[in-house]
Symmetry: C2
Subunit: 254 residues, 2 copies
DNA sequence: TCAAAAGTGTTCTACGTACACCCATGG
DNA sequence: CCATGGGTGTACGTAGAACACTTTTGA
């Protein structure tokens, strides 16, 4: 295929790109930037510095054009791997952005956005990747395109899902204590919940089950370890929630 | 731009299409088909018969390629208008389908699916549109591509949203009684709820407010009329839910 | 022996359900 | 006057919030 001239580019059919918002609890041993509000209670994400117009030099979400032989999710997975060297613990389609003017060039791009959670429990050393830096979501630099909107939407979605599903565990390793899980949960939701009630809710939900192990990590009683237990209905294709499951199930009035 | 040959088509960048699942309470005065389970408690949607390969003659969701000068939502709106002659009371992006083999041709298509609710309260006469027919969602014919999956996902999403938001009212006109609303709600969710409790829940939710009017339509006490009241936070861009609003708001423990 | 987090028990409230009962109307 | 759906009142059960209290550790 030959290159297109200016007016052809403007009226050419839109191209498809995939971008991914990758959340983690801490930045790995790469090079973080931006003043980090190091209360410990922030999320982090990797950004890629653009080397081409438009927005040369600006930071952007990891992503790229959709190749002809790659599925959308594969594309999200591979850019995630390129940017972090890791595989996601959770990956879900977020939204598709297709405004006419969002690419700020003649060539129109429709972007399918994904969001992902990764666990850094393994203390991944992470040889630093070229042009990638980690930022706290609370101190992001100016982003290219409408990527700030995408991040904002991803945060909303993460918060929403954290309130009625167990996604938060995906930030943690195989084994975790309920204290750890609660702190993650609170960081994501920006609240502080009662340890006793949180414990009961989690155990009652059945999404978590005890391994035999205990963990001792301070001047206090050791904590029992738990593992995540897969949700009963594995809905692979569900950007939409399925809330109020229990309520829905028992009903069937009069 | 010149036409592409076969191997070029296969490795060409994916094209973007938009398809819309349009739900209504009853089919308009067009030509419905398929054995309709006329319990009155089904939803209906318009389908378009394909006139070109692949899947020639099969029924498919209204949609088409994304034009260079049209936004995704505009595209969904316009195909909706073409198929039904109406404007949606509700329109939301559903999901983007981009599997490699879903188009069953060499040319790969990424489809951004939308779902919509329309009200037929105005007793729209609907001059029958060429190649469009309405089907009950419970008796759909075989569909082209992966459109059956899309419809299934849309139904799940509609049900989910109906449980924790007021979307169901969008099936009705400006004014409605709580009995009407309850029947719609029940039809969508496939349950039967207690009129007294439903009434209380709706009024308590604040999503509904009385107009002065009453409606008399049978051998029983006339019903007060209500109108829908816009949700407080108009989140234009929110495929994700925002459930447990009340619970979330008051919190902020210890 | 003290602080600090793990873990248990108990009360209180909000919300939804079930269900009994009155109201207004057309036939 | 009766069947039908609109509309009110009320008792019950459950889930979460608040909070008092015990347990086990390191320093």
């Amino acid at each position: 295929m030959r290159a297109l001239n200016v007016s052809e580019r403007r009226t050419a059919p839109p191209r498809v790109g995939v971008s991914t918002v990758i959340f983690a609890l801490q930045p790995p041993a790469g090079q973080p930037v931006g003043d980090a509000p190091h209360d410990g209670a922030t999320l982090w994400l990797p950004l890629v510095r653009r080397t081409r117009a438009p927005f040369t030099g600006r930071w952007a979400l990891p992503g790229g054009p959709l190749a002809w032989d790659t599925s959308l999710e594969e594309s999200a997975r591979s850019t995630l791997h390129e940017a972090t060297g890791l595989s996601p613990r959770y990956l879900e389609q977020l939204y598709t952005f297709g405004g006419r003017d969002r690419s700020a060039t003649d060539l129109r791009v429709v972007t399918v956005a994904y969001w992902a959670l990764i666990a850094l429990a393994d203390r991944t050393p992470m040889e630093s990747v070229e042009n990638v830096a980690w930022y706290s979501v609370d101190a992001l630099p100016p982003l290219a395109f409408d990527h700030a909107d995408i991040v904002a939407l991803a945060r909303r979605r993460l918060r929403a899902k954290a309130t009625y599903t167990g996604v938060a565990v995906r930030f943690l390793g195989e084994e975790f204590t309920l204290g750890e899980l609660r702190r993650v949960h609170d960081a994501v939701l920006g609240r502080t919940s009662d340890p006793a009630n949180f414990r009961r809710r989690m155990l009652a939900s059945g999404r978590v089950e005890p391994t035999g192990a205990v963990r001792r990590d301070g001047a206090h009683r050791p904590a029992r370890c738990y593992r995540f237990v897969a949700e009963p209905d594995a809905e692979l294709l569900t950007p939409a929630p399925t809330p109020a499951e229990t309520t829905e199930r028992k009903r069937r009035t009069s």
